[in-house]
Every structure is written in structure tokens, then in C-alpha cells.
């Protein structure tokens, strides 16, 4: 069994320094890895990033993160990333990493992702340059996620997880106003997950959303925004995949491979 701890949208700032540390110090007893699903700061300043860094430094389990829209607000995502990585976290954007959990290998592929909406109710790559770039940016994020998951597939992982800030499915947005769904996620992320295959998809961003969802390809989705889970983090117990018969590695990959 692989124990995954996950939380997003902790929105830390100097005034919240130390609030999560007591809970994070229990992680070695409860989990093998901590996933951070973006919006770790309020405005994306280095000062706020240092608060997050102090919460996660030497926490006793590997920490894997993606950034969120708040972490970009101050236009210094590279500095935020460097501060978090200096504290031991791996910050993913369009790439994956393999984390050792005892004798198991867990692959995590990450991207912040972006909006655009969901099948039949989404933005199109048409019209004004800004509109086209909006959709192209989401597409690049989704392509990066798919490529990272595919690369992890060849690295003997016992489980693969897709980590994003924006949501891949509308189900986990239930509770948010329908009108803002296109700003909360994109089906392109779910398509990437289903094309490459994964055992779990974790995201944040939708504070008024719902925890549980699933992609069309049958991959479980969990919205771990802190206001949704109502805790410092949530824990998921993943079981290693059974060796699949040839040509049917997973339901989603089976669709891809025909």
C-alpha cells in the first residue's frame, strides 16, 4: 500500500506562519509522500514562499508540488520554485518525478494547468490573439502532463499520479457557480490523464467544490483544496497495480492503444 498525503490552496503568508507545521510533523507516521496542489502562497512573493518553505523543510517525507495561479501573481514563479526546492520540495511543471515509498516507486507528473472549460462548454482556439493564447497555454500544460505521465510509464512505477492545480473534470467543481467553470479547469487535462494513464489525479483551486470525481477514462480525481477537505491534508491509500494482461495495461491506456 502507498500512502499519499495531499493538500492544495494553503495560501500561506507571514500571518499564517507555523499553522500547518504541527500537522505536517505527523506525516512520517501517516504518509509516504506529501503532494501540494498549488496556491501555496497568497500572492506569490518570495517572502510568502519562505513561509511555505519553513512549513515543509525536513518534514520527514518527500514533498512534490505544483504551483497555482496565486503563486504566479507576483510574476516571480521561478523564485517561488527555487525557494521551495531549496527547502527540499520538487516543484513540477510539465515533468515528472519518481518518489521512493519504502520498496515502491511512485511516479508523480505535474503541471499547474489552466482553464478553458469542459467538453461541449469550453473556450476555443479562435478569434482574438488573447483568446487563442488562453487555449494554447492550457493545451501546452496538458501536453506536458501527458508526456510526463507517459515517461513515468516506462520507469517501472508501482503507481502514477497526476498532480495539477486546475481541475481536469467538472465533477469536483460541484458547489462552484457554473458560470466560472471555464476558469477552474479544462477537459484537456483529463484527456491527457486518460491518454497516458494514471492511478489518481489530484488537484486544488476550487474552494467551494467537491472532493471526489472521476475522468471519463475511469481515473479517480480528488480535489484537495484545503477548504474542501477541511484538514491540513488528506490521506489516500493507493494499492499497487496488478500486472495487467498484454494490451490492457489500464482501462484508459487500453483506449489509447486500441
Amino acid at each position: 500500500m502507498i500512502r499519499i498525503a495531499a493538500v492544495g490552496d494553503i495560501h500561506m503568508a507571514p500571518e499564517t506562519r507555523g499553522t500547518l507545521r504541527p500537522a505536517f510533523e505527523t506525516l512520517p507516521e501517516l504518509a509516504d509522500v506529501l503532494l501540494l496542489a498549488g496556491d501555496l502562497t497568497r500572492h506569490g512573493t518570495p517572502e510568502e514562499a519562505r513561509v511555505v518553505a519553513d512549513e515543509i523543510r525536513d518534514v520527514g517525507v518527500p514533498v512534490v508540488a505544483v504551483l497555482g495561479n496565486h503563486d504566479h501573481h507576483d510574476d516571480r514563479p521561478e523564485e517561488v520554485t527555487a525557494i521551495l526546492e531549496d527547502a527540499g520540495a520538487q516543484v513540477l511543471e510539465g515533468r515528472g518525478t519518481v518518489v521512493r515509498c519504502g520498496d515502491r516507486r511512485v511516479g508523480v507528473a505535474g503541471t499547474k494547468g489552466f482553464g478553458g472549460g469542459f467538453m461541449g462548454r469550453c473556450a476555443g482556439e479562435f478569434g482574438e490573439p488573447l483568446m487563442k493564447e488562453f487555449v494554447r497555454y492550457t493545451r501546452r500544460c496538458a501536453d506536458g502532463l501527458r508526456t510526463a505521465l507517459e515517461e513515468l510509464d516506462g520507469q517501472g512505477c508501482d503507481a502514477r499520479i497526476a498532480l495539477t492545480h486546475y481541475s481536469p473534470v467538472p465533477e469536483t467543481l460541484a458547489g462552484e457557480p457554473l458560470e466560472i467553470y471555464p476558469f477552474l479547469g479544462s477537459y484537456l487535462l483529463a484527456e491527457a490523464v486518460d491518454t497516458a494513464g494514471a492511478d489518481l489525479a489530484v488537484h486544488g483551486h476550487a474552494h467551494a467544490g467537491t472532493e471526489n470525481g472521476m475522468t471519463n477514462g475511469g481515473v479517480r480525481v480528488r480535489n484537495v483544496a484545503q477548504p474542501v477537505i477541511g484538514r491540513a491534508f488528506h490521506i489516500y491509500h493507493l494499492h499497487e497495480r496488478e500486472p495487467a494482461p498484454t494490451g490492457a495495461r489500464t482501462a484508459s491506456a487500453g483506449e489509447r492503444d486500441g
Binding site: 500512502r3 490552496d9 503568508a13
Partner: protein, 100 residues
């Protein structure tokens, strides 16, 4: 729940009134101010309920909640403001979900 401001006598603005006094527009701009200004808080919902403005959502700190409630009460002086914003729970989970 906190109450800010005092209730004003009911009565919708007549057609042609200055948009600056229209409660719906004022609340819309307040939403933008809370999301895009120094507060940077996108997780708070402001809704007009008759003559009252209701604030809901979860924020990371009591200071953040008080800043938002204070800002709205100050901007909407004379209106009743209900602040139902809560602070995020930072306790350790007491159970795990088994994804068998």
C-alpha cells in the same frame, strides 16, 4: 457570524439612478477588489440578499477574514453585512480514504 453596519430601509433604486449607488454594482466591484487587490482572496463569495450582503467562504487566517469583513462593512456603510467567512482547519486528518 458577524454583523457589520446597520440595516437600511428597503427600496430599490429607481431607473436612471447613478450606477455608483447601485448595490449590485458596488458588490461586484468589491468582489474584484477582494480578489485582485492586496487581499488576493478569490475564495470569498459576496451575495446580495435583499437589503443584506452575505459573505461566505474559507480563508487561511482570522486576520484575512477580519480584513475582508472590515473592508466590506466600510465600503457598504449603512447596509447590513453578514460575515459567515470561516478560517481553514489545519488539524491532522483522523482517517484515510482507501482507493482500492
Amino acid at each position: 457570524m458577524n454583523h457589520h453596519g446597520q440595516e437600511q430601509a428597503p427600496g430599490a433604486p429607481a431607473a436612471g439612478n447613478d450606477a455608483g449607488t447601485n448595490l449590485e454594482y458596488r458588490v461586484a466591484h468589491l468582489r474584484e477588489q477582494i480578489a485582485g487587490g492586496p487581499l488576493g482572496e478569490l475564495g470569498v463569495r459576496l451575495e446580495v440578499r435583499g437589503e443584506t450582503v452575505l459573505l461566505t467562504g474559507t480563508v487561511p487566517s482570522a486576520q484575512c477574514r477580519d480584513d475582508i469583513c472590515g473592508l466590506v462593512a466600510g465600503e457598504l456603510t449603512g447596509r447590513q453585512v453578514h460575515c459567515d467567512i470561516v478560517v481553514a482547519d489545519a488539524t491532522t486528518p483522523d482517517h484515510a480514504e482507501d482507493l482500492a
